[in-house]
């Protein structure tokens, strides 16, 4: 079967074949590549004289294909007798591609047939597994009406490849009829090999997909009959001969569970290993009106009819994990009892993102330095990754590890890792730059697995003595490591994740450089953020603990800092995206520290306002809200000085904000607008029908698709609670909040529609309301009169809100409706600053009747924040923690992870130029995950502020995770689509092999250079 990439050629032909230069179109053999296995084969023998001859392939342990250095030449590769091959299933061809990973080419298994020929198996191959003894490769298929398992002898994988080199024994073209194959009762979902008898033997573990009348199953299959049929086992017994598609020798068949046990999640470690149990941030939160929040109902369980659909499998000795594509569980299958599959309690994915998980790709980590192992499972529903601790799976928690301190980055769910795009595949790598030399010179044997040690007790560069811990050789100021300390030096255990956007990213799991990626000092005097807890002092001079170094720099042992001088801690935390930059303000390499660009600007509809000097006192002042006990690392004038004193801190600028460096991953570059009584984004996109339930004491604006809680609308009850805590906070600072403030703070609805033209037939229609009456005043009998009355009352729509009677305060906000009253004005002319919210009472009737009639029972509107400043990020948008509560009422969420989702700030009183220091956790400040500020004045804070008065500024220094695109390479002229199907770390190459189901074929990410190693193979 051949496939040429003829599309482009056809196009050229149709266009008249006028091209002067022929275009070489690469020949493709990959179609729907899916799974990969690795196999080391010796294909050459070298005799004592050095003469090499091609031989029948001999399968070897993967470790016998010795690592290929990055600098290996073509000749080096060709000299290898044993080579590593990748076996890649082709789902749309029903074949397996054999790829020489050292040479980087697809093996043509049939030299007599033009093109590149692969190894045929059944249609729709779904899994591939290498036998423990490497003598056979098993492939499962889901061919319609003929699902099966095929055995391909390892010696036959290369077909007649190499015949031009003099030929070799047994070199024949692979044919499907030569493979022993056994039939399955249902389509196979995947296949793995699991060990039995303490690793001496193995069984095949296949998942069977649900079909009509049959649920999903896991079956274990005895490989011996297949091996006998292939001539790979000489024992007597049942045989599965080639060409005879007999039923597979099933040892056990078990239906996969559909029961979802309840679990108690546990938090992952936060990367601060010297704080037992993790850092406690429960008192480092903004003051809020917690009493008004509601415990939200739990998401209802799934209905009964969902069937299990097995997905990705990973094998771990005698155990196989099976992801479920329909249920939020990972099945755990144990085959230790004579190969009989026993399903233990599953791992359970939670649903913090709001939707049940559907699990895709799985991967299991190698052991960390603490002998921990983790199972990663991708949630196909939202592209996040669940982390399960499977160190001792029988006793480990069945739920995923929770992200520590979720409030510091509330934009991602607590129970998973999430990326800029959906994760589609994951693999683990334990990678190191082994130490080959140290202070005492070249080491006799390279050392690996060393933790970077910044502790001065371990010795320094100026010390005459050898290090007391060779981990010191990996410090920033040492020159013994092959690669300098920093993001591109991968030492430890890492997860490699491909995203749907076609990029690869890296997660830190166990970064052996983590102790040296930090600020200095890491003590009370230099604390930079919530998690940068002071390290304990060394107990004595023999204390070499990597985290007993509150001051890493010692002038006695070096002139440069031994650590990275980054502005936050931890820089490298388990299960967190790895930054591509050093998180510091480097005068040479750029500033990667979050900060404000320039100075915030105040303006009113594009006209700048003065914010300094005496004239500036007439305007509000945006000022940083401090974080007591912390220094602000962004204010360092000499940021890379090895000592705190040498950094020469400057004063915080005003106007300005205080950036937070508690969690560097939260930051994104964006533009900010802080406007007075700003418009809630998206609040004016839906029409609403107007009605009344209380005889026009209030009006109800209803849209069943309004999702007003989701929009973050706050009614007067929420506003009153907000004022209450602000009043208490003001008292702490000696400030007084006005007594009537609680009757004034509420979002309000601003009607946006124009008044209809006078000739519209609407004006003469009889409007009959739900009470059988009419909203028109009986005196308004003609269309002209009605129209004129409406124009007089409400004027025309105006973005600047010229007519204040269009503002209707929200007394009750629900998910599907807003109940509004009206404002009461003290003077003859409506005054924006002094108005109060009228309760629902009879005095509203005539006004609200007219409002309903004038806007024809249905109108569009926007919602504004009554008497509060509204901060909107260009990327992060409007942050709030309003949720749908009882009876659909919009209430504040009690979820502690949401406490930094804040966008509203009051005006704080000031006396002239003097402003009080408002802590960032005060209710008078606005603290969000990015920064904190307080807004002062003008005047005493109760003075009139013009609506839409606006501060603008930009923040930069976003977290930039390591990412590399798979979509372009030198042999493809345009960005190509990618759909990564699987990945596998190849230690012999220090590469991660990435299998793409679309156009990219097989791609390699080199962990030494963190770059794609070569053009893709397809």
């Amino acid at each position: 079967m051949k496939l040429r990439h003829v599309g482009a050629l056809s196009c050229l032909a149709l266009l008249g074949a006028c091209q002067q230069d022929p275009i070489t179109v690469p020949e493709r053999t990959f179609e729907g590549a899916d799974a990969i296995e690795l196999l080391c084969l010796r294909t050459f023998a070298t005799d004592a004289t050095g003469k090499r001859t091609i031989i029948a392939p001999v399968p070897l342990d993967e470790a016998e294909c010795s690592p290929l250095p990055a600098e290996a030449t073509t000749d080096d590769v060709k000299a290898r007798d044993a080579r590593l091959y990748g076996l890649v299933t082709q789902t749309l061809r029903g074949e397996v591609a054999v790829v020489d990973l050292f040479e980087g080419r697809v093996i043509d298994t049939d030299s007599a047939t033009p093109g590149i020929n692969l190894v045929p198996v059944g249609q729709n191959p779904t899994g591939i597994a290498l036998a423990n003894d490497r003598r056979a490769v098993f492939v499962s298929t889901s061919e319609v009406n003929k699902p099966a398992i095929y055995l391909v002898p390892s010696t036959r994988l290369l077909g007649d490849f190499g015949v031009d080199l003099g030929g070799r024994d047994g070199a024949v073209t692979p044919r499907i009829v030569d493979w022993p194959a056994c039939s399955l009762p249902q389509p196979a979902g995947g296949l793995k090999v699991a060990s039995i008898d303490g690793g001496a033997g193995y069984v095949l573990v296949a998942t069977l997909l649900p079909v009509a009348g049959s649920d999903a199953k896991v079956v274990t299959i005895d490989p011996l009959p297949l091996l006998r049929g292939a001539g790979l086992d000489a024992t007597t017994g049942n045989r599965v001969d080639p060409g005879a598609l007999v039923p597979c020798p099933v040892i056990s068949s078990t239906s996969l569970t559909t029961k979802i046990p309840s679990v108690t999640p546990k938090a992952a470690t936060d990367g601060v290993p010297y704080v037992t149990g993790g850092v406690d941030l429960s008192t480092d939160r903004p003051e809020s009106a917690q009493s008004t929040c509601e415990i939200l109902p739990a998401t209802p369980p799934e209905p009964f009819s969902v069937r299990s659909v097995p997905g990705s499998l990973v094998a771990d000795g005698r155990r196989v994990y099976v992801a479920d594509k329909a249920l939020p569980i990972v099945h755990t299958i144990d085959v230790s009892s004579d190969g009989v599959a026993k399903e233990n309690a599953p791992l359970v994915a939670t649903n913090d993102s709001g939707a049940p998980a559907r699990l895709g790709s799985l991967a299991i980590s190698p052991e960390t330095r603490n002998f921990e192992r983790f199972l990663y499972a991708i949630d196909q529903s939202d592209g996040g990754v669940f982390v399960f601790d499977v160190t001792q799976v029988d006793s480990s928690p069945r739920g995923p590890l929770m992200r520590p301190h979720p409030e510091l980055n509330p934009f991602v769910p607590k129970d998973r890792i999430r990326f800029g795009a959906a994760a589609v595949s994951v693999a683990f790598a334990r990678h190191d730059w082994p130490l080959r030399k140290s202070k005492q010179g070249d080491l006799s044997t390279t050392r690996t697995g060393l933790l970077c040690n910044p502790n001065p007790n371990a010795g320094g560069e100026l010390d005459a003595n050898p290090y007391r811990d060779d981990g010191a050789a990996y410090r920033a100021n040492a020159s013994y490591a092959d690669v300098a300390l920093g993001p591109t030096r991968l030492r430890g255990v890492f997860a490699i994740v491909t995203l749907a956007s076609g990029v690869v990213t890296v997660l830190d799991i166990d970064d052996w450089d983590a102790p040296c990626r930090r600020p200095d000092p890491l003590n009370a005097a230099g604390r930079v953020g919530s998690l940068a807890v002071p390290e304990p002092d060394a107990i004595n001079a023999n204390d070499l603990d990597h985290y007993h170094a509150p001051i890493a720099f010692s002038s006695a042992s070096g002139t440069a800092s031994p650590i990275s001088l980054e502005v936050t801690f931890p820089v490298s935390a388990p299960h967190r995206a790895r930054s591509s930059l050093l998180l510091r303000n480097d005068p040479e390499k750029g500033n990667a520290v979050p900060g404000v660009v320039g100075s915030p600007q105040l303006s009113f509809f594009g006209t700048a306002r003065v914010v300094v000097g005496d004239d500036g006192l007439k305007n509000p002042l945006l000022a940083p809200a401090g974080a007591p006990g912390f220094i602000d690392p962004t204010l360092a004038f000499v940021p890379l000085s090895p000592t705190l004193e040498g950094r020469n801190f400057v004063a915080a600028p005003k106007p300005g904000v205080r950036m937070s460096v508690d969690d560097p991953t939260v930051h994104v570059d964006q533009e900010w607008k802080i406007s007075y009584e700003g418009i809630l984004p998206d609040s004016n996109r839906r029409p609403a029908a107007i009605s009344t339930t209380d005889g026009y004491q209030s009006l109800t604006f209803r849209n069943q698709d309004g999702r007003f809680c989701n929009l973050g609308v706050e009614d007067i009850a929420v506003g009153a609670a907000r004022v209450s805590v602000e009043r208490a906070a003001g008292a702490k600072l000696g400030l007084t909040i006005g007594a009537d403030e609680a009757t004034r703070v509420a979002d309000y609805l601003q009607i946006d529609d124009d008044i209809l033209a006078v000739d519209n037939p609407y004006w003469i229609e009889n409007q009959v309301d739900e009470n059988g009456g009419s909203c028109w005043d009986p005196s308004l009998t003609s269309g002209q009169a009605r129209h004129d009355a409406c124009v007089q009352a409400f004027g025309e729509g105006d973005a600047r809100g010229g007519n204040l009677y269009r503002d209707l305060p929200i007394v009750e906000a629900y998910e599907d409706r807003l109940v509004v009253s009206r404002y009461g004005y003290s003077g003859s002319a409506p005054d924006h600053a002094s108005r109060v919210v009228n309760a629902r009472d009879a005095s509203n009737v005539s006004f609200l009747k007219l409002a309903r009639c004038c806007f024809h029972n249905q109108t569009k509107f926007r919602v504004r924040t009554g008497r509060r400043w509204l901060a909107l990020g260009g990327v992060s948008g409007y942050l709030h923690h309003i949720s749908r509560g009882d009876a659909g009422r919009c209430v504040q969420s009690c979820d502690s992870a949401d406490v930094l989702l804040n966008s509203r700030a009051p005006s704080v009183a000031r006396a002239g130029a003097a402003v009080v220091d408002v802590p960032r956790n005060s209710a008078l400040a606005l603290r969000n995950p990015f920064f904190s500020f307080a807004m002062f004045g003008p005047g005493d804070g109760g003075a009139a502020v013009e609506r839409d008065l606006e501060w603008k500024f930009s923040t930069r220094g976003q977290f930039t995770p390591f990412q590399i695109s798979l979509r372009t390479s030198s042999n493809q002229t345009e960005a190509a689509p990618t759909l990564t199907k699987s990945m596998r770390y190849v230690p012999a190459l220090s590469n991660v092999a990435i299998v793409d189901g679309s156009s990219r074929g097989l791609t390699f990410l080199d962990l030494r250079s963190l770059a794609l190693r070569r053009d893709p193979i397809y």
Binding site: E31, S305, A500, H856, E974, A976, G997
Partner: protein, 580 residues
């Protein structure tokens, strides 16, 4: 002002082959350049660049919309074919491709027609499947029952939910053409009236102007005095069949029409254009109605017609794809029927409510056809209906809140590759609130080049019951991919005629599929000594490039080797005048 036809002919001579190559990728990008006043009449008994297929309610008639894509003629056609005969002959072909009842075009001249191999040539002993090499073409003219000339560049063909009115968007005069059809009954042969294409009084066999909704700003019922923008492409009906949303390929506009049908399906007026909404993502192609299940709401489970229920269930919404942007747009439909009075305020309209990023794949930018599968909800509710009391209520509510699967054909920057995006719509948030329109793209399935349309239809499983599949038509690679929506695996890859585009199926009901009902025998063949057919068996795929239709066997009761293979070829793939 349309250009003179003679001018267009010369314009189209040179680029014809290129146009065919790129056809259907962005079909009919030559909108509003068609004149129907002169020229050669299109063939009455053959297909010519077919772009739409539809099967009658009773399964007795196959309707074909022909686009006249190269403007060889003075219009396209809408044809009706005797599907009962087609199905019978397809069944005969499976049994014996040389059956004397078959109107074979070339008798014994073709290699398969003259010597159908019984076994595969690989020595396996397996039966040689029919299909692309062994479904000898039959004379399509024998099955034609009616042909009406319509405007050129039809892009689609679809029945209203009631099955009594056909709609097809045409770029030739930027309108939604329509025809009234008398539905047939699956229990008996289709009456002659079902073959008659009711598109007004024909002049020179051409449908009358009143059957071109949106072409005139003064058409009856068009209260806003607007006309349809160019290149109408995708269509989706509201659940009650009263509204029709239309996408436009090269514009940032979507259109809304009333179908002229009541919510019970009776004809009350002619269709009419009602509203245009602008600033939607450009390059619109596919559109689908978002399934809103009233049982997802407590107010509705026992009282689906109550005012409280109506006030709770979301207004109808449509999900729209885009060729040029990696987003999906949600359009909300407000019927706004004049319950309040007679002023011009109360007219149907659309709002552009949400925009969903398509982040599941790097190829998300070029989306085409879309289909939404609520089968899981229906299946779950069928089980839950056996329960009682509060358990039944809560279970039904849970069933109704199950996400519906969204399938989107996705082309790519590479002509050789494409994929099927898989999403879920409808989700319960962490706070317990249910959002019927919350959409997430969750995965993608790699396919070969040119996926263009997606259809949901069943196969007949080994136990004789319906089982749902997703059929993805791939224009460039000449394939139909069959995907199991439960396992999300490609079940089969069917090689079909060149340039496949339109597809249709024997009639079925989704609730029957959800319940996995046994497929009943077709009573029309009860007395036929040579043929035994189930009421549902075939899918039909039209080759745009070669102008013929193939039938695909979808019955696997006996694990037949013809299952999910082409078994019948209606029309001559090598006929003169067909682009090569």
């Amino acid at each position: 002002m349309p250009a003179p036809y003679s001018k267009l002919r010369s314009d189209f001579v040179l680029p014809r082959r290129l146009a065919v190559l790129t056809a259907v990728l962005g079909l009919a990008s030559v909108a509003a350049c068609y004149s129907d006043s002169a020229g050669i009449e299109p063939p009455a008994n053959n297909m010519y660049y077919p772009t739409g297929l539809a099967v009658s309610k009773g399964g007795g008639v196959l309707y074909v919309a022909n686009s006249d894509f190269d403007l060889k003629y003075n219009g396209g056609t809408l044809q009706s074919y005797d599907l009962t005969s087609i199905r019978r002959h397809a069944a005969l072909t499976i049994s014996n491709p040389q059956d004397p009842d078959l109107p074979l075009l070339r008798g014994a001249s073709g290699p398969c027609a003259s010597a159908v191999p019984i076994e595969k040539s690989d020595g396996s002993g397996d039966r040689q499947p029919l299909g692309e090499t062994c479904a000898p073409p039959v004379d399509a003219t024998r099955y034609v029952r009616d042909t009406a000339i319509v405007s050129a560049f039809a892009n689609d063909l679809a029945f209203s939910p009631s099955g009594n009115r056909l709609f097809f968007p045409v770029s030739g005069n930027a309108s939604i053409m329509w025809a009234d059809i008398e539905p047939d009954d699956s229990a008996q042969a289709a009456p002659s009236t079902s073959f008659t294409i009711g598109c007004g009084t024909r002049t020179n066999n051409r449908c009358d102007a009143s059957h071109q909704a949106g072409a005139s700003a003064t058409e009856p019922g068009n209260t806003r005095g607007i006309t349809l923008p160019g290149q109408p492409f995708g269509m989706a009906f509201t659940a009650d069949g009263t509204g029709l949303a239309v996408t436009h390929q090269a514009d940032t506009v979507a259109s809304l029409l009333t179908t002229g049908l009541s919510s019970t399906g009776s004809r009350v007026s002619a269709p009419a254009l009602q509203f245009l909404i602008g600033e939607v993502p450009n390059g619109s192609t596919g559109i689908a109605l978002v399934p809103h299940d009233v049982d997802a709401y407590d107010e509705c489970i026992d009282a689906p017609s109550s005012a409280a229920c109506i006030a709770t269930v979301p207004k109808p919404a449509f999900l729209k794809t885009s060729k040029t942007e990696s987003t999906l747009a949600l359009l909300r439909y407000y019927a706004d029927e004049g319950s309040q009075g007679t002023s011009s305020l109360y007219r149907p309209y659309l709002t552009f409510e949400r925009l969903y990023p398509v982040a599941a794949t790097s190829i998300g930018v070029d989306q085409r056809g879309i289909a939404i599968d609520a089968n899981a909800r229906l299946a779950c509710k069928a089980q839950a209906s056996l329960l009682t009391g509060e358990t039944r209520r809560t279970t039904i509510r849970g069933c109704a809140r199950l996400p519906a699967r969204v399938f989107i054909a996705n082309r790519s920057t590479s002509a050789s590759y494409g994929g099927l995006l898989v999403g879920e719509i409808g989700a319960t948030a962490a706070d317990g609130s249910y959002d019927a329109d919350a959409l997430r793209i969750v995965s993608s399935i790699p396919l070969l080049g040119g996926p263009s349309r997606v259809h949901l239809a069943p196969i007949i499983d080994v136990d004789g019951r319906y089982s749902l599949r997703v059929f993805v038509v791939a224009f460039d690679s000449n394939r139909v991919f069959v995907v199991n929506p439960e396992t999300l695996q490609v079940e089969s890859t069917i090689v079909v005629g060149q340039g496949p585009f339109a597809m249709a199926f024997d009639p079925f009901k989704f609730d029957e599929v959800a319940r996995r009902d046994l497929v009943a025998d077709d009573a029309r063949f009860a007395q036929d000594p040579k043929v035994k057919l189930k009421r549902y068996r075939f899918g039909y795929i039209a080759s745009f490039t070669k102008s013929y239709v193939q039938a695909i066997d979808l019955e696997n009761t006996s694990m037949s080797p013809t299952f999910e293979r082409v078994v019948f070829t209606l029309g001559d793939p090598s006929a003169a005048g067909v682009s090569k």
